[in-house]
Point group: C2
Chain length 676, copies 2
């Protein structure tokens, strides 16, 4: 009954071996390309080696624990991880930050904190916000202590009754001139802070986002440094009602918390005052530009695109390997059961998700470039590119989160019943991807913003005014230029998606205009056009992803890659483009007509693309180079010993440590006997 | 810090009150219609009252427990439930079976066994299988003991390496003539039974599905009565390796198990021998018709359609109520935040799912009718309708499971971040709906079967041969009849969906024929046409659902309903039909052309349908009549006291029972201090 490890062979599943031997390209070259070069790949591998070397228990064993045990475990694991990263930073480059704290909440370390990370928000947002919004004095006095992990904290913005709409926040900070303090209050239950990661029991400070009032007059949302718990005893300070918000479908150990405030007083100097200010006499000095606050949120969205596409790639790795190991249902009667990947319907479930994860990862790369360029612009006082970056980050965050959620679930289902076991780890990936659909700006709200940006762009295009680069494809259609012939080559497919996007923008624009003409207010008209606005935003975003993928594969970088690798990337691109075309076919057919032959040829191209990827699928996901510890999956480990691993983990269930459970004697037996 | 209940008001949220007062129809009439009449509604309510009256803890508190605690709890709750149902049966109708055991695994009792039900398979499949496959003697000797719950058991079919493809099972039953016994073995690890509900620790017997061998010659799959554990001690018998398969993403307490057999001997008379037989001399007598085995699986699929659509209705109830309570993001700047349902994009997330759940529930009703008619036919020896029933149950099972899974997740996302909390209970509904996509026949495998049925039907249609009723719409298109004008009325929409389905069947048929002509085997050709076969099956199934919905709303039953109720049902039908048309628009546009005006009018109809349902949405979900105990949701309770309930349950988290967790002293504080 014990979980002896020797049930797992030390050999690799022969089906996987065969696939790997037959690869048409060098996996190492793919991995180098994927991770940005040989040096970065080695750095990643060394880091993983170091972080994971002493971790022995399987990550999915956490599901046997109680919520409380999981939360305690998460604290322990997060602190262990912090220690390791700091030691590595000190060894390899003292004083630098490329390992600590930079990697503390990166995907590279996911395998070390499977239940989530109660200190992620401290490093992902709180430190950054104090640096950018606080004065130098505040940074010295407070920011450095947070960065140095002398105190622990979080960023407390959302409330029980208020999420994406920031201006709706209810928490109040009233300035009291007589004591030079702010008085903090949660006037209602719905004003309770709710969700901040680590707030429950892992923060003794927070950055509180609250409505500033001076003489009962609102001055807008500001940030305040608030001590929550005693540094020695960790007991909540007077007026602080704090705790965790309870169990969630994922991130079990992230310790998301609630916070109610009752007449909590903090010195005036605890408001972050790099931009807006309150003077001792109660004078409010407005922020010269609220742009930088805004910019932290943009950064978070870039992170989400990158992480969500990584989650999808993780799920694709697991489902791909399993699909080559699992055998079922003969294709020809009386033949042996084939690897399930030989069923074309299985290929359709798995391969497009590999291509989609790559497409978004490349889109994230482009988004990061734009981010750094725009950041450099802003430092020079030039804000012109900001709306473009903002809207692109909104669109990509919403689409990538949604596609990763749906895609990871599709991959989980592609593993059949076994995908339902938590030891497959797919449900945890789905749950992580799902979360990104609603945090950091709910997806639909973001798409509506993008939709409004597109309406403005269309309006400019009609007037012949200049357009931002990502919206430049609207110019032709807005000027009434018809779509040229459908040729189906890659550039033509991208143009098709853009044309369909432009058509959706046109429809939304016309319907909006008509509603305004009917006397609806701008808000009402926009709301009533909401469905088309989000559809336009979706097509706009996917066109961008397609264009970026095309540029990465066929652009100048291609010369640096081997012909073999380029061929594989071209096949992935072909699959992505054809699949995306078919996905949006109804949108396309509404503005471009296809003959029956052309439609059939698309279907043939899809089937061909799947077939061509079949021999390289395992090597491709190998090229993502995810270590087993990160995959944490019985179905997806490198060696493909699927059934042995499932069996081994099942045997480790606490229930299997004794032959007869207590409830047999106390409940079941008495009942059975009573029926004799 | 305690979970005092008095945080929850005894009043109903005013926004919900207002909606209910303004209903355009009588909720009670809807509820009567939905539950099949006033008497059935009362029966249901009385039953719920009785079952739930002494249950006080909130169901979602189970998520704070460890896996072992949850499993023990599930046993206890299942036995309590059995006792209650039997007592009620004895009180109201001794000797009957309409309450016990019939309702033991029905949706009415879900609220009493939130972690799943380790004895569900015993009553849903094992009893039925012994009755239908066993001899009268076997029923007397064994079946009655199972039915009477003197022993506990399950139905052990799937194996670690083998699921949907039954003939691939590896477990062996070798007949030993010398002792008149079968010798049972799991020859490999992949032959281990894996998944049967209750097998882990809640069965002392099982029905084992194994390959019968006589003199090493395979005789096909048969069923065997096998004792697994001692009735007194519950210890596994010699040669039995048994346990649970570990934690899953849902059905935490269903105790799914594994089973390995090593030279386990059972008497020859333990093979179920109503149909196939093994004589003492080793002669094998074939079953006269394997049709009845087949029929139990058909029944299970009917159950799944019904349950999956119920799950979707549960999720829709929660998301609808929450959408009327939650307020966010002004539509016009400077106005107060509206109920989020006033955002059109929110209506699009929620209302179609209400309509879809109703559509499938009505389809399930039609499916059950066909089931009972076919059953009666079979008892008269007439099997002609069986292929029709089989294929319809496959199509509806696959589609309803998939749509419920996707729909419930969409509804969960529609509740924003709060839908991520387990106290919302939406994730558990999604997890339950997701399971149905892979059990009792994996969805894609089922759709491929339906696809092949459609190919045969198309072939018959071309030849002018008669078609089964559900495939009769293929006749016209197969004979080259073009689609008449698009008028957009309801019957025309159903015809449109059918025509699009027929077109997909045609394409699949032609591509299949071409592949055969190219020399591919039938198996290969079918596999290569797999994508189109599943698409055809999908459209075929949805056409049926649409046709059924139309018939239920506009058929003769309408005269028995009030005009007000009929108007609401018509609006739901309108939304369903328009939404389904838009969903399959690319399939439709491939064979029927629409003008720009017609396309725009579809979009307008969608928006109008949403708007018209807005005032009745809360009353409609009230009409489903789900008690709070079944919903088990902080977001969806009848009184709409959302925030108070969320807060109350958060406070009940074990972590919140003390201000400072252990890990602060052991882990966090030492670390923070080391950084000073």
């Amino acid at each position: 009954m014990s979980g002896k490890k020797d049930v797992i062979p030390h050999t690799v599943n022969p089906d996987l071996l065969r696939e790997r031997r037959a690869a048409s390209f060098r996996v190492y070259e793919f991995a180098c390309w994927w991770h940005g070069g040989a040096e970065k790949l080695r750095f990643k591998r060394d880091l993983e080696q170091e972080i994971f070397k002493d971790l022995t228990d399987h990550n999915t064993l956490l599901h046997y624990k109680s919520h409380e045990e999981i939360c305690e475990m998460a604290v322990k694991q997060s602190i262990e991880l912090a220690k390791k990263l700091r030691a590595m930073q000190a060894r390899s480059n003292p004083g630098g930050n490329e390992i600590w704290p930079k990697l503390y909440s990166s995907s590279m370390v996911w395998g070390a904190v499977p239940a989530g990370h109660p200190f992620a928000v401290q490093y992902a947002m709180m430190v950054d916000a104090i640096k950018k919004q606080g004065t130098d004095e505040q940074w010295e006095r407070f920011g450095k202590r947070v960065e140095n992990f002398e105190i622990c904290g979080t960023y407390a913005q959302t409330e029980l009754g208020h999420g994406t709409f920031l201006r709706g926040l209810e928490t109040r900070a009233d300035y009291d001139r007589t004591t030079d303090e702010f008085v903090l209050n949660s006037p209602t239950l719905s004003a309770y802070k709710w969700w901040p990661g680590g707030l429950g029991h892992c923060s003794n400070y927070c950055l509180l986002v609250a409505q500033l009032y001076i003489d009962d007059t609102p001055k807008g949302v500001q940030m305040f440094i608030v001590q929550l718990r005693d540094e020695e005893t960790h007991l909540p300070l007077p007026g602080i009602d704090i705790g965790e918000i309870g169990h969630k479908m994922g991130f079990y150990g992230a310790n998301n918390g609630f916070l109610g405030l009752k007449n909590v007083r903090i010195p005036r100097t605890n408001m972050l005052m790099r931009n807006a200010k309150v003077l001792p006499n109660g004078t409010f000095v407005k922020s010269p530009a609220s742009v930088l606050t805004y910019f932290t949120m943009v950064m978070m969205r870039c992170v989400i695109v990158q992480n969500s596409s990584t989650l999808l790639a993780v799920a694709a790795t697991i489902a791909t390997r399993y699909s080559f190991v699992r055998r079922q249902s003969p294709i020809n009667p009386n033949e042996p059961e084939p690897q399930i990947i030989d069923h074309v319907t299985q290929q359709l479930k798995v391969f497009p998700e590999i291509a989609i994860s790559i497409a978004y990862q490349l889109a994230a790369k482009s988004l990061w470039s734009l981010y750094y360029e725009t950041y450099a612009d802003i430092e020079r006082g030039d804000y012109t590119r900001l709306p473009e970056l903002h809207n692109l980050s909104c669109a990509l965050k919403a689409l990538c989160a949604a596609d990763s959620n749906v895609g990871a679930e599709r991959l989980r289902l592609a593993c059949g019943g076994h995908g339902y076991l938590t030891s497959a780890n797919l449900h945890r990936i789905v749950a992580a991807a799902a979360a990104a659909c609603t945090y950091e700006g709910e997806n639909t709200v973001l798409l509506l913003q993008v939709g409004r940006f597109l309406i403005k762009s269309w309006s400019a295009a009609i007037a012949g005014k200049p357009l931002t680069p990502t919206a430049s494809y609207l110019a032709g259609p807005a000027q009434g230029k018809a779509f040229g012939p459908w040729t189906g080559d890659w550039a033509n497919i991208v143009a098709t998606l853009q044309y369909a996007a432009a058509n959706k923008v046109r429809l939304a624009y016309e319907n909006l205009a008509q509603r305004l003409k009917q006397g609806q207010s701008e808000g009402e008209a926009a709301n009533n056009t909401g469905i088309e606005l989000t559809q336009a935003a979706e097509l706009h975003g996917r066109s961008f992803v397609a264009a970026t993928f095309l540029a990465h594969v066929t652009g100048s970088e291609a010369a640096e890659r081997s012909a073999a690798l380029n061929r594989v990337l071209q096949r992935l691109l072909e699959l992505y483009l054809v699949h995306t075309t078919l996905r949006h076919l109804s949108d396309i057919l509404q503005c471009i007509s296809f003959s029956d032959v052309e439609l059939r040829s698309l279907q043939t191209r899809l089937e061909t693309a799947l077939k061509q990827l079949r021999p390289d699928a395992v090597p491709i996901v190998d090229g993502f180079d995810f270590p087993d510890r990160l995959l944490s999956s019985t179905l997806g480990s490198y060696d493909g010993n699927v059934y042995e691993r499932m069996f081994d983990l099942a045997k480790q269930s606490p229930l299997n440590q004794q032959s007869v459970p207590k409830s047999f004697h106390t409940v079941l037996k008495p009942f059975l006997k009573s029926n004799l």
